[in-house]
Amino acid sequence: MAALARLQARLSGLREEYFRRNRSVDEDRKIEYKAAIKIQSWFRGCRVRAYLRYLNKRVIFIQKWWRGYQSRRYFRRMVETAYFIMKMNFYNEMAVRIQKRWRGYYVRKYIHNYYALKKYLEAISVNNEIVRNELQEYAEMKEKEEKRKDTEKKEKEKQYQARKMHYLLSTEKIAGVYNSPFRKSPDPMELLLRKSKPLSHRQQQMKSPFAYELYDWPTCKRPPTFSTAQPLPPIGRQKPQGPFRDTAEVLQQRYKPLEPTLRVAASINSPLEKAREEMKKEEWRNCIHDNEFLPFSSYHKNEKYDPSIHRSVKYGQETYGITHFREVQPKKWVADKVSHCIF
């Protein structure tokens, strides 16, 4: 009973306590609720941040790797191009050296060949000497000829004079003008007079022709015509003996053209031949080829088979579809192994 009393005493305050507790709990609820929320959100945030950090690291790793890869690629390319440029420079240098040598050689040998030019100039000098000598000889020869012509002319003059004045020759009793007794030997003119034949009357009247000068037109002198040779005497034609026929007639008959009759002109078999010719022509026209007729089996006997490109490479052909069509695995075949039904 005491407990009960006690409890009843507490009862009055119970409602208030109960109310107070509920109220406090209510009041704390919000706070606790908010606190719980805060804690949870903080924790969630931590988790997410950790997750993000994790992701970041991974991403950094991937990017690092990728960038490294790209740069290495770029670097490799750069190295390749640098190498290529180095090689090309080297090649260019070498090519320049070759071209230098070649051009020097070519120019010195073919375009400005010093030794060939020197030889050429020497050859020119030699040739010039030869030409000069020959021309000199030619000039001397002409001079000599001129002199010779002059002397000959003078000689002829003298001879002509001597022949004209033949009467000045000395006789046995009377010494001539050129044969003075006080001289040791007679004058050359005297000797000439002795040698020459006196001119006859007719020749004395002729004027001496000067065959070297030629006429000039206004004075109308006759030019000397070169002495024409005597025309040749006619060849002694002896007339043929006997009463022969006239030559013209004979020749005409000999060379008369043939005038055959129609029968002689046409050939013997002519209509028949013509017909035969017609037939032959027609056959020739209609004939397509000259090969003789062969039986069918022998058409392709001699032909060699030309495989196509696909079949003629060494890598061969795909056997699927040619030698086998579907895949077969004979080891798996059961049919011949099984001798009885398995039921």
Binding site: L121, N128, V131
Partner: protein
Amino acid sequence: NSGVLPLLRPLLLDVVPTIQQTAALALGRLANYNDTLAEAVVKGNILPHLVCSLSEQNRFYKKAAAFVLRAVGKHSPQLAQAIVQCGALEMLVICLEDFDPGVKEAASWALGYIARHNSELSQAVVDAGAVPLLVLCIQEPEIALKRIAASTLSDISKHSPELAQTVVDAGAIAHLAQMILNPDAKLKRQVLSALSQIAKHSVDLAELVVEAEIFPVVLTCLKDSDEYVKKNGATLIREIAKHTPELSQLIVNAGGVAAVIDCIGSCRGTVRLPGIMMLGYVAAHSENLSMAVIVSKGIPPLCACLIEEHEDHIKAAAAWALGQVGRHTPEHARAVAVANVLPTLLAMYMDTRSSEDLQMKATLKSILQKCTYLPALEPLLHDAPPNIMKHIVGQFSKVLPHDSKARRLFVTTGGLKKVQEIKAEPGSLLQEYINTINSCYPEEIVR
């Protein structure tokens, strides 16, 4: 003047042939003397009578009539045109077909005088069909006829390339080339003149002439005793050489240069001129050819021509030829300078004469720009005018920096002193050259 012409005219139509011939001869001699008389003959309407009666007359009349036509046609182109207009060309061509060589000669002489004046008259002569007949005339045995026919062909072909081509097409070149060997001097003159008139127009014609194998026969003409044969031979070679380097090369290989040089050495006066020009043309084509001229000892005769000749145009030609020889490389310029010709050229340049100035200046300039032979340049330092001095000092400034012996010589001969005395505007090319020369020497010497 005393009224002879109206009296002579009816005598031309006289019955007696001798009177006709003598009347024609008289008319011809009158017209030959003077061109006013020739005009009077034309105005007196005599030519148609002559032309009409030509065809049926004998050869003496034909000769006399052709003589009249020649005498009238030679004075001036207008008179020749009058002759052509009255239809005389056909008659003359008919005369060319005659048998008598005197008639042919007279007719071709008349045609030659007509064709000489200008190219229209030549074309008229060619159109009348004269050229093949003239080529036939050349082949005749009479020397006078050959001469006249060759001279007519030369007169026809000298005006234009087409006329020359017409003459060539008639086959003239072969016959003319054969006649070069003929001993008659006057014939050779005409033949060489005809060939050179043909060859001068174009490369193809020159090659055709060369193909007729005139070399080396033509070189014998250069040694002939007749001056004009030498001159015409040199003219022919010059006309061939001037077209292309290959033709010049051919001439050089045949020894033509030596022959021409000897020819120049042996003649005097205008006869030398074509030879000098030929050397100039050959040397102008290329440096190898010019070296060939030098090697054939071409420079001494050219210098001799320059010094000895009195006439301006020959001196100018000689100077031009020397310029062509010396302008290619320093070797060539040295060869010219060694012959001691530069002072002569300079003296001639400064000797005030208007016509030669340009050639001398160009020659001097072209030789000096390549000359590195200093001993020849030194004497020029003392008298040269400023525009030439520029080149001389320029050459010194190019050579002195590299050659120590030359520097020493330059000082000892007083050249450095002379260079200091030259006044030049600062900044001009001359001043630069002087500075270059001064910088080759140490300061004390320059002072």
